[in-house]
Amino acid sequence: MTEIFGIPTQALFGQLLIGLINGSFYALLSLGLAIIFGLLNIINFAHGAQYMMGAFCAWFLLNKLGVSYWWALALAPIVVGATGMVIERLMLARLYKLDHLYGLLLTFGLALIIQGLFRHEFGSTGLPYPMPKLLEGGQNLGFMFLPNYRAWVVAFSVAVCIVTWFTIEKTKLGSYLRAATENPQLVQAFGINVPRMVTLTYGFGVGLAALAGVMAAPIYSVNPLMGEHLIIVVFAVVVIGGMGSIMGSIVTGFVLGLVEGLTKVFYPEASNTVIFIIMAIVLMIRPAGLFGTQK
C-alpha cells in the first residue's frame, strides 16, 4: 500500500472526504454570516444559537407533531428565519446607524439568552434525532465506508451554496440587494422597499443557519450548546475568507474543513486550533481576508 508521510493513501482519502463533510457545515454557516454582514453590516453572533434552534425545531417537529426530516428541512428554516425577522425589526433595525460593535453585542447577548433558555428546558446532554430512513446505511468506497447521510449533506450544501451565490451575484433580485447596501437612499428612491428587503435578507441568513442545524441533527446530538463551539470556528472561517465575501466564505468553508481533516490525521491534538493559526497568519498577510477587498 502506498503511503504519504507514513499515512496510507487510502486512510488519507477517507480523512479528506470527512474534512469535506465538515467543510459543508462551515460553508453553509459562514455563507449566512457573510450575507448578513455584507448586506446589513451586522456581525451576527446569534448565528450559532439560530443553528441550534434549527436542530431543535426539527426535533420538535418530529417528536411532537410527527413531521418528518424532509419537511423539517423546509419548515425549520422558515420558522427560525421568521423569529430572525422579528428580531431584526424589533431590535437590529435600531442599530444600523451605530458602530458594528453594538450589533455584535446585541446578537451576542441574544445568543446567550437563547442558549440559556434551551439549556434550562432541555438540559445539556442533548436529545436523540434519528437518521431519516431513506438515508440510512452507506456505501463502501473501498478506501472508506461513506454513510449515505454524509454524502447527502455534502451534495445538498454545495447545491444550496451555489444557488445562493447565483441569486445574489447573478440575478436582478441580487443586484437590488447589492445596490441597497451600497446606497440605500438611492435604491429607495427607485421605489424599492429597502427596509423590507433588509428584513428578508436577515431572515434568509438565519434560515441558512437553521437549515444547517436540521442537517446536523441526525449526526450530532440535538444539544443547546451545539452552536456555541461551532460559531467561533465559523467566525474564523468568515474572517479568513474576507468579511462579507459570499464566494470567499463558501470556498474557505470547504477548504478549511479539508485542512482540519488533515490535521486530525497528522496531529489530532491540534485539530481544534489549526483554523485559528491560519486565521492569525491570514490576518497578518492580508488583513481583509483571502477574498475580501479593503474598504
Binding site: 477517507g14 480523512q15 465538515n22 447521510y149 451545539m226
Partner: protein, 403 residues
Amino acid sequence: MLLKRSLGLAALFTLAVGGAHAQISDGVIKIGVMNDQSGTYADLAGPGSVVAARMAVADFGAAKKGMKVEIVVADHQNKPEVGSSIARQWFDVDKVDLIVDVPTSSVVLAVNQIAREKNKVLIVSTGATSDLYGKACTPNSIHWTYDTWSLANGTGTAVVKTGGNTWFFLTADYAFGHALERDTEAVVLKSGGKVLGKVRHPFPSADMSSFLLQAQASKAKIIGLANAGADTINALKQGAEFGIVKGGQQFAGLLVFLTDVHSLGLNIAQGLFLTESFYWDLNDQTRGFSMRFAKLHKGAMPTMGQAGVYSAVLHYLKAVESLKSDAPGDKVVAKMKELPTDDPVFGKGRVRIDGRKIHDMYLFEVKKPAESKGAWDYYKLRGTIPAEQAFRPEKDGGCPLVK
C-alpha cells in the same frame, strides 16, 4: 470590611446555635457543590448533584439536631483555573468547609492541592482520575463514587474475557482521558489482550468521524472510549452512522452515565457494556431514593455521580456530628475513615486510608429497545464486583498515607 462582616456573622451564628456546637467553625457547616452547571457534564452532575446534596442534609435531619448547614453552588466550567479561583474564594472568604462533587479530573487535581493547603475537605464524586487516591492523595480528600481504575477493571476485564482482545482507544485529551486510557490499557494487557493504537481528541469534540475512521482502519475488535458525556455520545452516535458495529467492531464505553444512555436512545446504545457503582433500579432502597430524587429533578433518575454526592454529604455530616466540629479538614476526614458508611445508595462500606471509599461496583449491559419498559429502564445487571476487589489495592496506588 469583608472580614468584619464575616466576623459579625460568625458571632451571630454562634449566638443562634448556642453552646452545644460552639466548635462548628463560624457556627455553620458550609458545603460547596462545585461542578459543571451548564456544559458537557451538566446533566450527569450539575444541578442534580445540588438536589442530591440538599436531600442528604434533609435526610440527615440537620435542622432537628441543631446543626446549621448551608449549601452553596458554583460552576467551574470544566476549567482548572476557574475551579481553583472558586475554591480559594470559597475557603478564604466564604468559609466553605467541604467541596463536593467536582467532575473533570483536571479541576479535581487543582482543587485537591488547595483543599490540602487550606486544611479543608474535598470529596470527589463525579471526578474520575484514580491519581486522587494514588500519588495525589492527601489527608484532606476522599474519592467517593468510582474512578478510572475501577471502571477499567470492570469493563476492561469483562470485555477481554468475552473475546475482545484487541483494542483501539479514543481518548479525551486531558487528565481524565489519559488516566482512563492508562488504567484500561493495563487491564487489557494483564488479561492477555493487545492495544493496536490510540488517538487523542480535543476536549470537547463534536465531530468524531475522523477519529472513528482511524479506529476502523486499525481493525481492532474493541474501540475503547476513554471519554465521557457528550464526547461519548457523539462517538457512539457517529460510530453507528459509520457502520462500526455492523463492520464487526464493538464499542466499550469506559465511562457511560445513565443520562448518556438516555440521550443516545436504546437503538444506538443497546448491547453496550458499562461499569457503574449505582443504578436506580438495583433494590428497594435505591428505588426509593431515586423516586424521591426524580420528583425534585424534572423526573430524571440520578446518575451514580449524583447519588454519590448524596452518600458523601450524608457521611460527612455524620463525621461532623460525631466530632462535634467541622474543622480542621484532616480531622474530619480521619473521622470519616474511622466510621463505617451506610446509606440507601451504596449500602454498607468504608473509607480506606488512601481516601478511597469502597463499595460494590456493577457491570451492566444496556437493554434492547424491546426489553425496556420505558424511559430510564435501561440496564441489565451482568455482574457484581465485590467492594474489596472493585478498586485498586491500597499498596499499588503509591499514596504516601499508606505505610
